[in-house]
Amino acid sequence: MASTTQTAPETQTGVKLPVLEREKLILNGRSYHWITERICGVLENRQPLLWWLLFIPSALIAMIGVGGGLTYLVSTGVGVWGMSNRVFWGFDITNFVFWIGIGHAGTLISAVLFLTRQNWRTSINRAAEAMTIFAVMCAGIFPAFHVGRVWFAWFLAPVPNANGIWQNFKSPLLWDVFAVSTYFTVSLIFWFLGMVPDLATIRDRAKPGLRKTLYGIFALGWRGGNRQWSHYEMAYLLLAALSTPLVLSVHSVVSFDFATSVVPGWHTTIFPPYFVAGAIFGGFAMVLTIMVPARFIYGLQDLITMKHIDNMAKIILLTGTIVGYAYLMELFVAFYSGAIYEMDAFKYRIAGPYWWAYAAMMSLNVLSPQVFWFKRCRENLWVIMVVAMCVNVGMWFERFVIIVTTLARMWLPGDWKTYSPSGVELMTFVGTIGMFLALFLLFLKFLPCINIAEVKWTLPESDPHFDDKEHHPDHGVKNEAAYQKELV
């Protein structure tokens, strides 16, 4: 039997309040075809010279830094990194936490904002998800290689070693292996499934040939029939619902690496929420860092509007303030606990030899986003870029402060050491930045950087009742004057 689709007649007769019109997500009344043309144009046209000017150095830095640095590490030994007895975690784990945190904004935009029906996410979610994938790839390098003999990295997988001993499932480090690999896999599925309809668009526009065949294979034969869309939307909803707790769990588990140890400065219950907020904070800064220039270079101003950037700046302000609260609360709890070791750990952070890292963390993460209270600052792209860069650097320093200053000064004075990175460590870190940029530029060149189908869905004419507003007052927005009359 056919089901009924008529909406119930309006029964409410009371006074109607005026409805504020929503700011448009897509400017200048662009058509479906314009959206397709513009987004597909990014990858169908020749890339601008700037693309090559960015890509070639990034790829070279990645090859020399990551390729060369790791080759040297593996062929020589983990001692080429500047770590010493006591400070076993230096740049490696700092960079791991830094990169994995960057990924979190992608999942937040694609999953959490989807569940909360924030339609502005549609213009930025694809690029943010790509960023997640690439950031997690950069992150994975460090824990895999810091074990020293990387050919034994399979010890992390749940298979017994030669003596029949299994992994310790009670250890947060093993939880981390599961969390990060699950995160990468599910993010990849989410990213790929979200891209299937758009790959079909590119396939349908391409001339017969290798290009059409390749995009056709990855588009899986998508036709855009509603019998497909119906299941597809359910799949997307399910993945969003699965990714939301996942993203919260990943950085919580990363924070367990520290919080479950009995080390002053690490052993605190505030760590999981503090890490998650910091990850979202740093991730949004990275989204802005790469999307503001990309939007400008490819002329995507009608799709990624100032409204989108304004929203992201507000999220940075919110999460940055949460992070600032966490910093202060850490200090307060250390003081309030009366534990001398705890107090000393924080005194050392603020006034010890690493005071500059602590000062950088505080000023870049907590103070710099405060300019976003002012609308004028949220509208100025230069201010936005400067703050985003400050946050990128500041969040790296946060991880450095947490990891290095704590390990450098533990329980026994005989253990006390200071740490400074070796050239190889620096090279590998700079290499991952190159790798991240190179991968992102390849993404811009070969894949649709904005979700074409979802952006079309946010246009007003995508509503099936767009043409018959008169008959469905529920769906339509009456003009302001009509509401003002009813108000009297």
Partner: protein, 184 residues
């Protein structure tokens, strides 16, 4: 003269907007067709109802996929830590009281297995991937992923008749009506 035989796939008709497609879908549904579909560049809100379709059963697959993940992780952790090779690390117990420490891995594998079930369950339900489809032979169908809205009624539907179906599509506002044929 071509030697390939052709088989009729069905009629393809274009509609000018999402609203037109929505209203046409209600009429095709009420005419009692079963083997037909609406094609659009993006999912249209409420079209499931207009086509008389049921809610997707994918969540059930994912529910059982997720439970399988939880059970796998629990079995893996409990068997290896408590049954096969109980190892006391940092004086933590190696018995039933170890179970809370297994929760993070149980959670992660629940999500991992659910994620894979979403992927493969979806591909099963929408019967993809496939390399070709009769509709791709149409000259206008490539616009379904750009800015066009179509309804295709298949010839294997029992109510299909070459003339009446075409008339129906044209009476509900279909334009550019095309008989799509597949090579046999």
């Amino acid at each position: 003269m071509s030697t390939t035989r052709k088989r009729v796939y069905g009629y393809l008709a274009e509609f000018k907007s999402a609203s037109a497609l929505y209203k046409a879908a209600e009429k095709v549904r009420d005419a009692g067709f079963r083997k037909w579909d609406c094609y659009s560049p993006y999912p249209i809100h409420g079209l499931d109802g207009a086509m008389g379709m049921k809610r997707s059963i994918l969540p059930w697959f994912v529910f059982f996929g997720g439970i399988t993940g939880t059970a796998t992780a629990f079995t893996l952790a409990y068997t290896t830590q408590v049954v096969i090779y109980p190892t006391v690390v940092q004086a933590k117990p190696a018995n039933i009281f170890s179970v809370p420490a297994f929760f993070p891995v149980m959670f992660e594998l629940t999500i991992l297995f659910s994620g894979f079930t979403v992927l493969f369950g979806l591909l099963g339900l929408i019967q993809l991937p496939r390399l070709n489809h009769p509709l791709f032979a149409s000259k206008q169908f490539h616009r379904a992923t750009d800015d066009a809205f179509f309804i295709a009624i298949e010839a294997r539907d029992p109510k299909f008749s070459p003339n009446q179906t075409k008339e129906l599509l044209s009476s509900i506002g279909g334009e550019n009506i095309e008989l799509v044929e597949e090579e046999d």
